[in-house]
C-alpha cells in the first residue's frame, strides 16, 4: 500500500510502498465515483501535472481534512495505485476491502449531491447519487469500521 502525505506547504507526495501490512501508519481514506479523464493518476501526482485536472480538489480536500483529523497520511484510489503495474493492481483490488476496513476515518464524496439548507432534504437527496449505483462502492459501504477511541 502506498499513501499520500501533505506537506505544510500544501504539496502532496507519495510514500514508499508498504510491503508489510502491519507497518502501515494510520490513514484516512476516500471513496468517490470517478470522472472519466479527470482523475489524477499516480504519474501525474508525481510530476505535478495533476493540478490542472478538475478532480484535483478531491486530493486537496482529503489532505486538509486528514490534517484536521490529525492524520498525516491518506489514501485515494486514483493516484495511490500504479495501474500500469499489473501485480500492484492485483494486490490493490484484492486488498481494497481490508484497506477500507483499516482506515481511521473515511470520506465519501458525492459529486452529484448538492446539499439543501434543510439537512433532512440533504439526506433524501442521497437517493440520486451515482455512488449508490456503482459496483465498487458497495464494499466501501460495508467494510467494517476499525474500532477506535472517540476523540
Amino acid at each position: 500500500m502506498r499513501l499520500l502525505e501533505r506537506s505544510d506547504a500544501g504539496e502532496f507526495s507519495l510514500t514508499d510502498y508498504f510491503m508489510n501490512q502491519d507497518k502501515i501508519p494510520p490513514y484516512a481514506i476516500l471513496s468517490h465515483t470517478w470522472v472519466a479523464g479527470e482523475e489524477v493518476v499516480l504519474e501525474e501526482l508525481k510530476n505535478g501535472t495533476g493540478k490542472g485536472k478538475s478532480s484535483y480538489h478531491k486530493i486537496q480536500f482529503c489532505g486538509e481534512q486528514a490534517k484536521r483529523d490529525r492524520l498525516q497520511y491518506f489514501w485515494v484510489d486514483t493516484c495511490c495505485i500504479d495501474k500500469t503495474n499489473s501485480v500492484e493492481l492485483q494486490e490493490a483490488i484484492n486488498n481494497m476491502f481490508r484497506w477500507y476496513q483499516k482506515a481511521e476515518v473515511r470520506y465519501v464524496y458525492l459529486s452529484d449531491v448538492h446539499l439543501e439548507v434543510n439537512d433532512d432534504l440533504g439526506k433524501l437527496i442521497l437517493r440520486k447519487s451515482r455512488w449508490f449505483k456503482r459496483g465498487w462502492t458497495l464494499q466501501k459501504l460495508l467494510a467494517p469500521h476499525k474500532s477506535r477511541p472517540t476523540r
Binding site: 476491502f97 442521497l126 464494499q139
Partner: protein, 167 residues
C-alpha cells in the same frame, strides 16, 4: 462521513442509515454493523450488486471479492460470465453455499409454477448451468422467507442431478 459536491458534510452512516438502506436494499443491521454481513446468505449479498454498474464487465464479479473475503486472480478480458462463475466456484467450496442455487427465481414465478422444481429454474437443465451467469439473476425482490424454502428445494435438485449423473 458523506460529503456533498461542495464538501459540505451530509452525515455519517449512523445518521443516514434509513435512507441508505432504502436506496441499497441492504438491511439496516448490516449497514450499522458490517460485521453482520458475513451472516447474510450468499444469495442476499450477491443481490446487493444486482442493479449496480461497473465500467469493466468483470468488475461486477471482482467487486464482490471483499464482501465474501475471496481472493482470486483478476483476468480482465475473461468477461462477466467467467468472472462471476469463478467467484461462485470459490463460494461453492465452502459450506452453506446452497443459496447460490436459488438464482433466477422471483417470488412471482415461484408461485405461478407451483411445486415443479425443474420448471422454476429458467434455463436448460444441464450441470454446466448450475451456476448463474450474472448477479442480475439474483433478484433482491425475492422475499427472504422464501429463500429458506428454496434452499431446501435446491438441495433436492442437486440430489436429482447427482442421481441422474450416477445412473
Amino acid at each position: 462521513m458523506f460529503y456533498d459536491s461542495n464538501w459540505r458534510p451530509i452525515g455519517d452512516k449512523e445518521s443516514c442509515y434509513p435512507i441508505i438502506s432504502s436506496i441499497t436494499g441492504i438491511g439496516v443491521n448490516c449497514i450499522l454493523n458490517p460485521s453482520q454481513v458475513k451472516r447474510e446468505l450468499y444469495f442476499t449479498r450477491i443481490s446487493w450488486v444486482e442493479e449496480r454498474q461497473t465500467t469493466k464487465a468483470e468488475d461486477i464479479a471482482y467487486c464482490l471479492m471483499g464482501i465474501f473475503d475471496v481472493h482470486m486472480p483478476l483476468l480482465y478480458g475473461e468477461g462477466e460470465f467467467k468472472a462471476f462463475k469463478r467467484l461462485q466456484h470459490e463460494l461453492v467450496k465452502r459450506a452453506s453455499s446452497s443459496s447460490l442455487l436459488t438464482w433466477g427465481i422471483s417470488f412471482n414465478n415461484c408461485i405461478s409454477t407451483g411445486p415443479d422444481l425443474w420448471s422454476i429454474f429458467p434455463r436448460s437443465i444441464n450441470r454446466q448451468d448450475i451456476l448463474a451467469q450474472s448477479p442480475k439473476h439474483f433478484s433482491h425482490q425475492l422475499v427472504l422467507e422464501s429463500v429458506a424454502t428454496l434452499r431446501d428445494r435446491s438441495k433436492a435438485w442437486v440430489h436429482k442431478i447427482a442421481g441422474s449423473k450416477s445412473s
